[in-house]
């Protein structure tokens, strides 16, 4: 059982996402640590890629700010190495950065370096199960989880192929489209969770979660965790736009994290008792 699995073992997991280096190296570190303080169970740390095709405008903005501030894969790894948090960290990035890293072709050098700085899982939005084996192999060898995304359109054989490969948790995409905070909870979430009941791996729902109330609803519906990105990046972006002190922004992030954690827990409490996940 990996540390990531453990994070899902007792009650619902809150999995926040931030783009590393947004809007600058030091602030970004403070923000990640604030999320940990606010109750994060796992943190997804985005390594910015120039072509974030799966992201909506909010995270595109974060990625652009981070790149403009000079974020690179190597700087990212240094950042992660320096972090003072005690939750499992998952690297989220696009395949080309993984593929290009180091002098050898292929994903192994990237995974080695990630393991070295303490990354425990990887999720790659543009890497479907069909193309994943080289990365899968490297992760297995180095003891990292490889998280896959399951979309509302993923069904039947495709779903099985993904669920056979996934480890850590499965990222349940709550709606079609790209990342971005929304004012409502997608109807499709329940369907998606329903399709996954037969598998034991933890199910974390993402795409559009914005408030504690959303978190509550989603966990009530059966999710083992919630993934929240854009709603947090919005706070970073606003702080940057208004040139607020990093501590203030960090405090807001911590508060938002707490709201979401509490929402998730409250949802969990309301759940019809059912056999707990192992």
């Amino acid at each position: 059982m990996s540390r990531i699995d453990e994070a899902f073992a007792d009650g619902p997991a809150f999995v926040p996402y931030l783009a590393v280096g947004d809007p600058d190296y030091e602030s970004s570190k403070a923000y990640v640590e604030a999320l940990a303080r606010g109750g994060a169970d796992v943190i997804e740390l985005g390594l910015p890629f120039s072509e974030p095709v799966a992201e909506g405008p909010t995270i595109q903005g974060a990625v652009t700010r981070a790149l403009e501030a000079g974020m690179t894969p190597e700087t990212y790894f240094e950042f992660v190495g320096e972090l003072d948090v005690d939750v499992p960290l998952v690297c989220m990035t696009y395949y080309n950065l993984i593929y290009q890293f180091g002098s050898d072709a292929g994903p192994r050098p990237f995974v080695e370096r990630a393991a070295e700085v303490g990354i425990e899982g990887i999720v790659v939005p543009d890497l479907p199960a069909e193309e994943a084996s080289p990365l899968r192999d490297a992760c297995d060898d180095l003891g990292l989880d490889l998280v896959f995304i399951v979309a509302p359109t993923t069904e039947g054989e495709r779903l099985e192929r993904i669920m056979e490969q996934v480890s850590g948790y499965v990222y349940v995409q709550a709606r079609l489209g790209v990342t971005g905070a929304r004012d409502d909870v997608s109807d499709k979430t329940d369907d998606a969770l329903a399709r996954l009941t037969e598998w034991n791996v933890p199910k974390a729902v993402g795409f559009g979660i914005k408030t504690g109330e959303h978190a509550e609803r989603i966990v009530t519906g059966g999710a083992d965790g919630i993934i929240v990105g854009s709603a947090l990046v919005d706070i970073v972006a606003e702080g940057h736009r208004e040139a607020r002190p990093a501590e203030d922004v960090a405090a807001d992030l911590e508060a938002k994290a707490r709201e979401l954690t509490e929402g998730a827990e409250s949802g969990y409490a309301q759940r019809v008792p059912e056999p707990e996940h192992t």
Binding site: F49, P52, V53, P73, N96, P128, I149, T153, R158, G177
Partner: protein, 412 residues
């Protein structure tokens, strides 16, 4: 099942949300395109003829032949409806989307040629259509924007990044990922995840099917060389495909050399679009291919005076053919392309697209490479480029350019 790779290149690197649509497309491609189910290919060919204006001529170019001491033949894709080879693919894909029961079309466009081709095909087949186009390209190719609007297509400006083709593709993929259930993404070149590179090539191969037969009719032999410009590489693969088995035919993919082949790693800018000539392997927009990227793997901003070549990637099959030494990648810079644009306009009475002009620039700089008989693919006409040409010619001292006095007061 059709294989998704060309050697090491190709594949399907897309968000999971798109994978079911891509599998569906793969299935439709195999049934309708490869197996002509329900007579799809017959209908496609009929529409390409009646609506698109095929076959296009293979024209002997008298002045160029004399100039280069080689029998130069022009494959006249500029005469296809809409003014470029782009309709061959757009019509095929929109028709396929119809066969698949899709109800909406999205597309990206750079020069606006693929956008106008898709808009025309969509109007012709009664499909609603939206096109994403970088804001910078909107300004460089306004007539094409207007043409799309006239055909009833929505044009969505993309403001992020430098506002060119790469960003437009990103944004179209996002739309597709959102509306994948009823929407087909008509990609504009031999790029993207499998089956796009193979399917777009098949739709474009009509160029070399015709040309190979025409050159044999007109000269009794195969050409010594075939030249085509290469952005994503669809006119290129279209012009090359049927000749790839003819080992004696040299195939030149002419890329945009822009202002220089040097890159600026600091700024993340390559002042060219020469991914086959100078790029290296990576993953972009769904496929492994040759890319303009920095050492970290971040994609560079490319550049070319021609919007349609201004792209950091290239079709995976071309990347493979270059590695196999079957296709020779070469470059022509902005200045030489403009010079070639003016030369062809005056020598032959054909105003080429700026993209196309690159192929002619290569012929001019390397007449000895043409052999005794050459085919140059005239991928499109230059009407869309008039404004850019006035502006870019004005910045330079171009020997072949006419005096532009009539245009005091600038632009069109």
């Amino acid at each position: 099942m059709s294989t998704s790779k060309f050697g090491e290149y190709g594949g399907q690197y897309v968000p999971e949300a798109l994978m079911p649509a891509i599998e569906e497309l793969e299935d439709a491609y195999e049934r309708y395109v490869l197996d002509n189910e329900d007579g799809f290919m017959d209908e496609f060919r009929r529409r390409l003829r009646d609506f698109g204006g095929r076959p296009t001529p293979l024209q002997h170019a008298e002045q160029l032949s004399e100039r280069y001491d080689s029998e130069v033949y022009l494959k006249r894709e500029d005469l296809v409806h809409g003014g470029a080879h782009k309709l061959n693919n757009a019509l095929g894909q929109v028709l396929l989307a119809k066969y698949m029961g899709k109800e909406r079309i999205v597309a990206e466009t750079g020069a606006g040629q693929h956008g106008t081709a898709t808009a025309m095909a969509a109007a012709h087949l009664g499909m609603p259509c939206e096109v994403y186009m970088g804001e910078r390209d909107i300004n460089r190719q306004r007539p094409n924007v207007f043409r799309m609007r006239l055909n009833g297509t929505e044009v969505n400006p993309v403001t992020i990044g430098r506002g060119t083709l790469k960003e437009a593709i990103n944004e179209t993929m996002r739309d597709w990922a959102t509306n994948v259930e009823d929407t087909h993404y008509v990609i504009g070149s031999v790029v993207g995840p499998h089956p796009f590179p193979r399917m777009v090539r098949d739709f474009q191969s009509v160029i070399s099917e015709e040309a190979r037969e025409q050159i044999r009719e007109q000269t009794g032999r195969l050409p010594d060389s075939v030249l085509a410009c290469a952005g994503g590489g669809s006119n290129t693969m279209g012009a090359f495909h049927e000749f790839t088995q003819d080992a004696e035919v040299d195939l030149y993919a002419v890329e945009a050399g822009g202002s220089s082949l040097e890159v600026n790693e600091e700024e993340g800018v390559a002042p060219n679009s020469a991914s086959l000539s100078t790029g290296d392997e990576g993953v972009l927009h769904g496929a492994r291919t040759k890319l303009l990227q920095d050492t970290d793997g971040q994609i560079m901003e490319s550049h070319s005076v021609s919007s349609g070549l201004d792209y950091a990637g290239v079709g995976p099959e071309l990347a493979h053919l270059v590695d196999e030494d079957r296709v020779t990648p070469v470059t022509v810079d902005d200045d030489a392309a403009l010079e070639a644009f003016h030369r062809l306009s005056q020598d032959e009475g054909i105003i080429p697209a700026l993209e196309t002009a690159h192929a002619f620039g290569f012929a001019h700089e390397n007449p000895e490479k043409l052999g005794d008989v050459t085919i140059i693919n005239v991928s499109g006409r230059g009407d869309k480029d008039l404004e850019s040409v006035i502006e870019e010619t004005g910045k330079r001292d171009i020997a072949a350019a006419p005096d532009m006095d009539v245009f005091t007061g600038g632009g069109l």
